[in-house]
Symmetry: C2
Subunit: 186 residues, 2 copies
């Protein structure tokens, strides 16, 4: 029993992921509202019919893209924790740095993440994906104080979404004291 050696399927799967990546770029640039079969196809450099062939509907494409985006983010959080842990750090510096990065160079990606949140609020099928990075944090970080941990998770989301409507993205230095406060032992 061979696993994925059909050249056609391999190429098809590759194009499928290319389309998803193109769709993510469109979302980062213009938001979910900018996603159409034609804009995504143009961004991916494929004919319009290709996106309809690989995704049974535009909604399918959108859902697949946001789920992929959520998986990427969860993976990044995983490695961030792993990195901080290997340094024996409490993580405050890493968290502040990650937040500053999310609101600066990776601003588009962060907006895409919250577009996912909002879509998940209306489509229950998307909620597991939206909660993914929260689950990673919850399962990896030791938290004796349940309430303090919930405050930490809420604080991260609040800092991010409020940072998105700041005129200037906050620096890691500005975020640092707030993150310290969120992480301080009770």
């Amino acid at each position: 029993m061979k696993i994925q050696t059909d050249g056609r399927k391999v190429r098809g799967e590759k194009r499928r992921t290319e389309i998803i990546e193109a769709a993510l770029r469109v979302i980062e640039r213009d938001g979910v509202a900018g996603v159409t079969h034609r804009t995504v196809a143009l961004e991916a450099g494929v004919p319009t019919t290709s996106t309809t062939y690989h995704f049974s509907s535009l909604d399918d494409l959108l859902v697949a893209t946001l789920i992929s985006c959520a998986r990427d983010m969860a993976t990044e959080v995983y490695w961030m924790i792993d990195r901080a842990r290997s340094r024996g750090s409490r993580g405050a510096e890493e968290v502040a740095g990650l937040l500053a990065e999310a609101l600066g160079p990776r601003r588009g990606r962060t907006m895409a993440e919250y577009e996912l949140y909002l879509l998940a609020a209306r489509k229950p099928e998307l909620r597991p994906a939206a909660r993914r990075w929260l689950d990673v944090l919850t399962s990896m970080v030791r938290h004796d104080d349940e309430v303090a941990f919930r405050v930490f998770l809420a604080g991260i989301d609040g800092l991010l979404i409020q940072g998105l409507i700041d005129d200037e993205p906050p620096s890691a230095e500005e975020l640092r004291p707030v993150v310290d406060y969120l992480l301080k032992p009770a």
Copy 2:
């Protein structure tokens, strides 16, 4: 010099606000994506050309609607604080109740508020409106500890947006300990 006694302008202004209210209902029901001249006009019970007459573009209508929504929310926050203050309360119970209400009966409105956030992330002109209720809180609530106050603001936003992707909206009782933690003196 008479102020707004022209019957035509009065009725026009009335219809304008009716259109905004209808647009808000559409956003609560279907999100910003569901806003078109036709859907809003149908919801308001007016001809399609009426929405184009009173708003120079669909984007204008959207912006006006979200700004109106933000003003309403800021007003509610104002009175919530006023109410809590007159009772001599520290506000934890009021805040927890308001959050539970925002995630329960007023869920659609809360989603609309975060659609405004996300739109404001892309359109700087909307940012003052998006920050409005934060400004009300900042100006009304005494905060000796600047960092603790920022954590409080971020925590509120985080609890709300995370509550939107919960399968069951959290109750005031569940939120209470977290709010207590957010409000506890350093």
